[in-house]
Symmetry: C2
Subunit: 261 residues, 2 copies
DNA sequence: CGGTGTGAAAACCTTCACAGCG
DNA sequence: CGCTGTGAAGGTTTTCACACCG
């Protein structure tokens, strides 16, 4: 996952559902691959398989964009590539700045997928004077003191934060003050931003924790439904609290096999 | 968001909703910070603010875990940390293997948040003989030929893929064959896995594309609701297709102001 | 016939609002 | 009194199933 808008009650004017938007890049990637292999048309079934979704969902998604398919045939690959690109705003060039050129930042800067598809790294920025001037991925690192100037001069509206957690909110505030309205945050912090600024988050450790949850589930199940040793419907139920009295609290201690979940 | 289970119709036996699971790590992080500042209790309002969600959602989420709060007071920080950790399976140790020690892989290996919270990098694996033996983040890189042995010997059940896109599916297949059932995929590919294997995806370029979409929206709106130049309810409507005849197709060409979205 | 496009149903998630407990 | 815990309402997303078109 690693996603998450911050605050903002999902205003999303009228238009394409957020869930659909999140899948468009997937379709686009699959379509690009087909295009490179010169495949002229594709059915919802095939494309859905390539994108890892089911075909009904894909067709519904496309229906929000318009009627771009041909019944009995499928979708024209090139045409769809163009339409989705346009919808996502990838027919224009998006200069981005990256702040925090440590291990991760450098890796991101080197990452090819970044450059493709309309995104251009306009500047790499770091607070460490020792980094300044050194080229990373062929781009010289600039000092954070010049942040505002850099953003203005390059017309940047998307920023990537790859600083340590402690610096992220500060950097974020400066980016926003300088006019940036979309932020991709790799630091493990919740950023608070004013209305109108979009934040998406990528958080490695959160992803791992979610996997661990499911992994634990699996282990428990295959071990013979253990852990289901629970008095049918206690605690969770509403109203009539079982007269088990108080007990059941005491920070940390707590015998492992009590119940929740 | 960069998330995504692959296939599998979201079986998730009975229990905690997926959306809640995805937020537990957030709560845990906020709680850990409070714990470090020795804050004894916290209200749903305060904790929600720290985690970047609203308090009703947080209370609902916690209600799936059980009744861990005290009315009129709030939640005991230490106790909640323990309960959420246990729920997420973080009270046990999760050895992980990372495959693909390029720029990104090395950055991830160095990333601290990885090591904390019960995850331990058991091995770094790469296909390049030149990398083998070289220590990254203090751990020597091993060759992919030994993948199966490494996984078995260390009882690993979580794998991280940070290879180039072309190698990802192959590596995935080997991981799965070796017994791994949870995968965190950083390569820009849709992995196909058998039933029972969880895949989560982190994809930089997808996140950027989603941001670009919203950014474009904002730009369009502030420029005076242009683009809303649309015949009230054509095309999208059901049934009675407007007799505009065919036209409107022809790969690529298409005048920019037609309609979709 | 094969495959899109889409209403309608179902599942899921969020928010509201308040009873009730400490 | 203050705050949790939770039914119920409201919203969004997914899935179903089939009319309709090329």
């Amino acid at each position: 996952m690693a996603t998450g808008r911050t605050h903002r009650p999902a205003t999303r004017s009228r238009g394409i559902p957020e869930a659909t938007v999140a899948r468009l890049p997937l379709y686009l990637r699959a379509l690009t691959a087909l295009s490179e292999r010169s495949v002229p048309t594709v059915s919802s079934e095939e494309l859905a398989a390539a994108a890892g979704v089911n075909s009904a969902k894909l067709r519904k998604d496309f229906s929000y964009l318009g009627s771009y398919g041909t019944r009995g045939v499928g979708y024209d690959v090139e045409y769809l590539v163009y339409q989705i690109s346009r919808e996502l705003g990838l027919t224009q060039d998006w200069p981005i700045v990256m702040v925090g050129i440590g291990n991760l930042g450098a890796a991101l800067a080197n990452y090819g997928g970044f450059a493709s598809r309309g995104f251009r790294v306009a500047a790499l920025i770091d607070a460490d004077p020792a980094m300044v001037g050194r080229p990373v991925a062929g781009i010289p690192v600039q000092h954070i003191d010049d942040l505002e100037k850099i953003i203005e001069e390059n017309g940047v509206s998307i920023g990537v934060i790859a600083t340590p957690a402690g610096a992220a909110q500060q950097v974020c505030d400066r980016l926003v003050a300088a006019g940036i309205s979309s932020i991709l945050n790799f630091a493990p912090t919740v950023l608070s931003v004013p209305e109108g600024v979009d934040v998406r988050k990528v958080d490695l450790s959160i992803e791992l924790q979610i996997l661990a949850f499911h992994e634990q589930r699996k282990a428990g199940e295959e071990a013979g439904v253990a852990e289901a040793v629970v008095p049918p419907a206690a605690v969770r139920g509403a109203g009539t609290a079982p007269a088990t009295g108080p007990g059941r609290k005491g920070p940390d201690g707590d015998l492992p096999a009590v119940m929740p979940a």
